[in-house]
Amino acid sequence: MFESVINGISALAIPIVIVVIPVYAYFKKVKVYEVFVEGAKEGFQIGVKIIPFLVAILAAIGVFRASGAMDLLVKILGPVTDAIGMPAELITMAIMRPLSGSGALGVMTELVNTHGADSMIGRMASTMMGSTETTFYVLAVYFGSVSIKNERHAVPAALLADLTGIIAAVFICNMVF
């Protein structure tokens, strides 16, 4: 039951969004076609903008993996992650996620390409990527913008939320897929 609800949400989300937004905009007298194209132009810039980040992170992970260092890390941390049902391959993803958005995107991309987008590892990495945020970047930019120096409990609260997001992603993927 729970499983089919989650799957149903996944299947319906995009078709609904793709109809509701343009229809709503049309009735609000927005020039739907022209405005869509105007927004879509940005997509190209984003694609090009992430190339340097992807090259940097994919190259570094490629070296780490090809040298056999990744296998070693997986072997060392395996028992810990096994306990929560998390494939050890996702360790880099979990470490990278709060530190760098483009870095985590690189790790996710690498995992999806190596293990397949529809493998358990691929699905868990995608779920983690889609459900957490680049905590330290947000903290630095947002507090920096108003020169807050004493951030009080922001870091522990945010990191606890990240940890929850990762564990929840592992749990729900094991359950649904």
Binding site: V5, I9, S10, G39, G47, V63, G68, E151, H153, G165
Partner: protein, 207 residues
């Protein structure tokens, strides 16, 4: 931090390859490292190009959501929740509006539009702050919600799954909504509870 991790990946990888090469008496590990460097760099570009179409589709839709006022509509719907989350902020204060818009933009995966709105919210929250260099409870709660990322449609993730040849690229939307809901609940609870801990309490002498 990201600098150290990146460097460590490269340095540890190369050292490992050298050590394995010496112990096995073959240059194979080093050759493989070189191959990985070249192949992965090429993969990075292929992936980014593959992503462009989907990002364009998504950002086009988001522009429509923005222009049609759909985002304002979502903002209005979540106002009652916001009043409870930020009791110290007056309901009609500009900070409230900016925070709502930021959260709505995050929900729709509108990363680019979300950041300026979030910064605007911080500026407004700062106006209510009596100690300029210390974060208020409202600021920490807002940041915790923001970093726990309430995302409904993770467009970039779906894009990458499409270019990786997934049979069902959108299948992770449901699981991501579940995970993000858990992390957001923990974020809000932690932000509220931690603010009461002696360590994080606002001290009178700071005022």
């Amino acid at each position: 931090m990201i600098n150290i991790i990146w460097l460590a990946l490269l340095v540890i990888g190369v050292i490992m390859a050298v050590v394995t090469s010496i112990t096995t008496g073959s240059f194979d590990p080093l050759v493989q490292v070189t191959d990985a460097l070249f192949n992965q760099s090429k993969t990075a570009v292929d992936l980014a190009i593959g992503l462009i179409g989907l990002m364009a589709l998504w950002l086009g839709l988001m522009k429509l959501a923005e222009e049609s006022g759909l985002i304002d509509l979502i903002a209005k719907a979540v106002r009652p929740i916001m009043v409870r989350l930020f009791p110290e902020i007056p309901a009609d204060h500009p900070a409230m509006g900016a925070m709502i818009m930021n959260i709505a933009a995050n929900m729709l995966g509108l990363g680019n539009a979300a950041t300026p709105l979030g910064l605007k919210a911080m500026q407004e929250l700062q106006k209510l702050n009596e100690k300029a260099e210390t974060a208020t409870n409202a600021m920490v709660t807002f940041l915790a919600i923001n970093t726990s990322s309430v995302t409904i449609i993770p467009a970039t993730v779906i894009g990458i799954r499409v270019s990786a040849g997934s049979g069902n690229p959108a299948e992770i939307i449901g699981t991501a909504i579940f995970a993000t809901t858990c992390s957001t609940i923990v974020a809000v609870t932690a932000a509220k509870l931690f603010s009461k801990l002696p360590r994080f309490q606002l001290k009178p002498e700071d005022v």
